[in-house]
């Protein structure tokens, strides 16, 4: 089991420490609903040190063949993502963010559970050199629509990053502007001591911490996937409706993607919303049924209670012939047929 390098200060902040992807991480501080709404209405910071951080160097053309979106056309200091490493069946090895440092150097943020797999996979499929920076730096995300009311507007533009810069007076390795919550914000990579100082400064500025449970509900409202739940090595981006590829280039898995686009797919990912009074969470693999419950037409991959909509939401895979937006299907929740309205992403309208 790994531990966030920031657990000391987080414990002092009353974090409820739990396990995620073999990492000890802060799950929440108060209630996930309060932390979630803080991000939607104001701003909060998250420890995301569990995510894999790899430095990849070598010939850009080699990386281009491994990754499903074009990277050659991007300028240095820009982020390409989300994109993916796919297997030869078009399934996800991982969905990643790629930071282009130069023509021959990239930083890649992987899902925590896939860090070692992707390190090995790149090694097996290319002559690129991979250095694991995960334990050298921690990573904080500051997210929320009012972020610039609390922090001086960063020089960094959306989907861009700066290396070796200052943030709140501290020397940090990387400052980027992206996120996984649907709100504006920043990410910072730095060593644990620096991040601890930054956390103290954020608190003084009035920015509160949030945990990984809120991060999960925030991403579900936006319809963003979580590896291992909503996507895995058997699911292609076409099935997931996750536009992480470019057909203007060659990459591993492209053939299968072309086939799926040409012939269609047997399942596609959509969201759903339960009625307000149905406070039951459809768990992973619960069956989605036809409206009268006679046929299995899909399965659930994620669900949560949306603090923003005040109802249960989720996502799953549905046979295309039943995948009409606005259709009312049923979900079998421990023998009970609960109505679920099929909805497209994002599941909330944030503006």
């Amino acid at each position: 089991m790994f531990s966030s390098p920031l657990l000391d200060i987080e414990t002092k902040l009353n974090a409820d420490i739990g396990e995620f992807a073999n990492w000890k991480m802060p799950m929440k501080y108060t209630s996930y609903q309060d932390e979630h709404l803080l991000v939607r209405r104001s701003v909060a910071f998250f420890d995301i040190s569990h995510m894999g951080r790899l430095k990849v160097s070598g010939n850009q053309n080699e990386l281009e063949l491994l990754v499903s979106k074009e990277i050659s056309k991007n300028k240095p200091n820009s982020i390409i993502g989300p994109t993916a490493f796919l297997n030869d069946k078009g399934g996800f090895e991982d969905d990643v963010m790629i930071y282009k440092v130069s023509e021959n150097e990239f930083l890649i943020v992987t899902n925590a559970i896939n860090r070692e797999k992707i390190t090995n996979w790149i090694g097996k499929n290319s002559g690129l050199n991979v250095e694991d920076l995960t334990f050298k730096y921690g990573m904080l995300a500051i997210q929320g629509r009012n972020v610039w009311n609390f922090i001086e507007k960063a020089e960094v533009k959306p989907l861009e990053f700066i290396l070796n810069t200052k943030f709140l007076g501290e020397n940090v390795f990387l400052l980027s502007r992206s996120g996984w919550t649907g709100e504006d914000g920043l990410e910072v990579w730095a060593d644990a001591n620096t991040l601890t100082s930054i956390i103290q400064k954020l608190l003084k500025l009035g920015i509160k911490p949030a945990g990984l449970i809120a991060r999960d509900s925030l991403r579900q409202e936006m319809g963003y996937v979580l590896y291992g739940e909503d996507i895995d090595s058997n699911i292609t981006p076409v099935e997931a409706r996750y536009w992480v590829f470019s057909l203007d280039k060659d990459f591993i898995g492209k053939e299968k993607i072309m086939e799926h686009i040409e012939n269609g797919v047997n399942r596609i990912r959509l969201g759903f919303k339960l009625k307000k009074d149905d406070r039951l969470l459809p768990r992973k693999d619960y069956k989605i049924k036809s409206p009268l419950g006679s046929r299995d037409v899909g399965y659930v991959t994620s669900s949560t209670f949306s603090p923003y909509l005040n109802r249960v939401i989720g996502m799953g895979y549905i046979k295309p012939e039943y995948a009409y937006i606005g259709y009312e299907l049923a979900i079998d929740i421990r023998g009970k047929q609960v109505k679920a309205k099929i909805s497209d992403f994002p599941l909330i309208n944030t503006r």
Partner: protein, 138 residues
């Protein structure tokens, strides 16, 4: 009167407990049932509840309710045999009350006790503390 285990989990002395983390407060032949502070902390944020029907006859150990949290759906078992006298309807719209006040406003249902001898099968607070310590390895 209360005890806090490992700086985290509050246990009250005035009630009985089960190995499945229900608490039971007995007043005459009426038992009020909820889940313990330990259980709500393990479940994390509670977002829903399925309550039993009032009037339902239950036997000791029978599944009577479900607590939905972001982490899991947890079955609530009846700690005693009897009939369901009352349920805490407020939990339907604000199930997070169980997180905020598990021993108070977060009570789940009241039971009319059928067989008072069954009460001796419940854990007292000292036994429940041992049970938690064993499970936590502390």
């Amino acid at each position: 009167m209360s005890v806090v285990i490992d700086g985290k989990y509050l246990i009250l002395k005035d009630r009985h407990y089960t190995e499945t983390d229900e608490w039971i407060l007995i007043n005459g032949n009426i038992a009020t049932v909820g889940i313990t502070d330990y259980a709500q902390k393990k479940l994390k944020d509670i977002v829903g509840i399925e309550l039993p029907q009032v009037g339902r006859e239950v036997i000791i150990g029978e599944q009577v309710a479900v607590v939905e949290s972001v982490k899991a759906a947890a079955d609530i078992f009846s700690p005693l045999s009897g009939s369901v006298l009352e349920v805490n309807k407020e939990l339907q719209s604000s199930p997070e009350t169980i997180n905020k006040d598990p021993y108070g406003r977060g009570w789940i249902f009241k039971l009319k006790i059928k067989d008072e001898k069954e009460v001796s099968k419940l854990l007292n607070f000292e036994q429940y503390i041992i049970s938690i310590k064993q499970r936590e390895g502390i």
